[in-house]
């Protein structure tokens, strides 16, 4: 096994082009487990920890560009106001030790439908910027990043550079169901983002399909009820039944299977509950905020 340690993005991309078989490593929280357990023997690893371009957090207009190598711990410290839902999701990853090392680039690269930050990234319409030395950069919506479990849209000569995180334009929520509070792979997870400017709702569903799913019908239902009832302007309490119906539609949008972590039926139910609660919590938070500014 070769150990490659580039110190710039251009050097890293050249290495990846020359060694398409090499596996990139950031925090190692997935890859090292596979190596430790003899499940993976990459011919080479490319350590991206020393590539400064991947460690940047940059604010550009209405977006925050988060470098693929920024650990969750730093996301939680620095992006609380611009990406509250992402911070909530980051806080549910593993344990303090894992959050000190794990990154968005790794979460995307591992391409697991249980990736903790992915449902929220889908809900807010985030994109992954990837690059190759030959073809330059391109953006892939996170929604389309996973093709099937453990396979991504990344070409063999590409690396994930950064993630475009649209700044929050309304309340956000993230929830996940697991067997305990720390160190769990989610049985089902759900991200929700209100966009008060566009008067829209975004959703992301994790661990309940081969890829991260969204729930367009559920989103449209809430937006329509809110428009009909004038809630976007009034910030009135949620009308009866909206959260329940939203939950049902989210449950229907999922495509879960039975596996060691839970049954498909349980997952669908859990998602309905998570979604209904998230909607209530997010809207109540917005109402509190609005009240605060009016007072």
């Amino acid at each position: 096994m070769d150990f490659l340690q580039p110190t710039s993005l251009s050097e890293a991309l050249a290495m990846k082009a020359e060694r398409p078989d090499a596996t990139p490593i950031q925090g190692g929280t997935d890859l090292m487990v596979d190596i430790n357990f003899d499940r993976a023997r990459p011919s080479a690893t490319i350590d991206l920890n020393r590539v400064p371009e991947l460690m940047d957090i940059e604010h550009v207009g209405s977006d925050v560009w988060v470098g693929a190598g920024v650990p969750y711990l730093r996301i939680m410290r620095e992006l609380q106001s611009d990406a509250p839902g992402l911070c909530m999701a980051a806080r549910t990853v593993g344990s303090p030790q894992i959050r000190a090392r794990g990154t968005l680039g790794g979460n995307l690269g591992t391409a697991s439908p249980a990736g903790d930050t992915l449902p929220l990234l889908v809900a807010i319409g985030a994109t992954a910027e990837v690059a190759s030395s030959e073809r330059g950069r391109r953006e892939i919506p996170v929604r389309n990043f996973i093709i099937r479990p453990r396979h991504s849209a990344l070409e063999s000569d590409e690396l994930i550079v950064r993630v475009r995180v649209p700044k929050a334009r309304g309340p956000q929520q993230f929830g996940k169901v697991g067997q305990r509070n720390a160190m769990v792979i989610s049985i089902a997870s759900f991200g929700l983002a209100f966009d008060l400017d566009q008067r829209a709702v975004g959703t992301g569903i994790g661990s309940a399909g081969p890829v991260i799913l969204d729930a367009p019908e559920a989103n449209a239902h809430v937006a329509e009820v809110f428009s009909t009832e004038g809630l976007w302007d009034s910030a009135a309490p949620l009308p009866d039944g909206v959260a329940k119906r939203f939950g049902e539609l989210v449950g229907q949008a999922a495509s879960p299977i039975d596996d060691v972590r839970g049954t498909a039926r349980y997952r669908r139910h859990a998602l309905s509950v998570l979604a209904a609660r998230s909607l209530k919590w997010a809207w109540n938070e917005h109402r509190e905020t609005t009240k605060g500014t009016r007072a």
């Binding site: 190692g28 090292m32 030790q97």
Partner: protein, 169 residues
């Protein structure tokens, strides 16, 4: 491959390291520092917790070469010079009965030392969160929480055992 790094304040070199090895394996097998324990090898148990550039990490998930030039602190760095000398957090674990089989203890010691260096008087909730990446199958955690409170109290009133690395900050 050869890896040069700082461990507990000293620059050390490990030669002939297999590139796929973890920092944990390198510490234990090549640098003869067996204090960090090898238990789950998948980041679940926290027995191998060390500080890397001041952050608490699982040494089993850091690829050896990633530690090149980094500053590592292990549980050995929290003990005193003499045989049997222990740091203040270790002493608190002994006094509170926070050690039974002892296998998880080095990881807990590192996590608690890290916690107290940032939060000198943590609430129980903060402590539980900070220790959520460390598993103990013997104590039921209550005695460990007692040990954290004791260590925090002793640091606050200046009665922490002073012969050690852990009390030097």
């Amino acid at each position: 491959m050869k890896v040069t790094l700082r461990v507990n304040g000293q620059t050390v070199e490990a030669e002939g390291v297999w590139p796929g090895a973890s920092l944990l394996t390198m510490l234990r097998d090549d640098l003869e520092l067996p204090g960090s324990k090898n238990a789950c090898e998948q980041g679940e148990c926290g027995s191998c917790s060390v500080l890397m550039d001041g952050e608490l990490v699982c040494a089993c998930l850091v690829q050896a070469g990633q530690a090149e030039g980094r500053d590592i602190r292990t549980v050995e760095g929290l003990s005193g010079e003499g045989d049997g000398d222990v740091g203040d957090v270790q002493q608190a674990f002994l006094d509170a009965g926070g050690v039974q089989c002892g296998f998880c203890t080095p990881g807990f010691i590192m996590a608690v030392d890290h916690l107290l260096s940032h939060e000198p008087a943590p609430s129980d909730e903060t402590t539980r969160e900070a220790l959520s990446g460390n598993l103990c199958r013997c104590t039921g955690y209550e005695k460990i929480l007692d040990a954290v409170r004791l260590a925090a109290e002793r640091r606050a009133d200046g009665s922490a055992v002073a012969t050690t690395g852990g009390a030097q900050r």
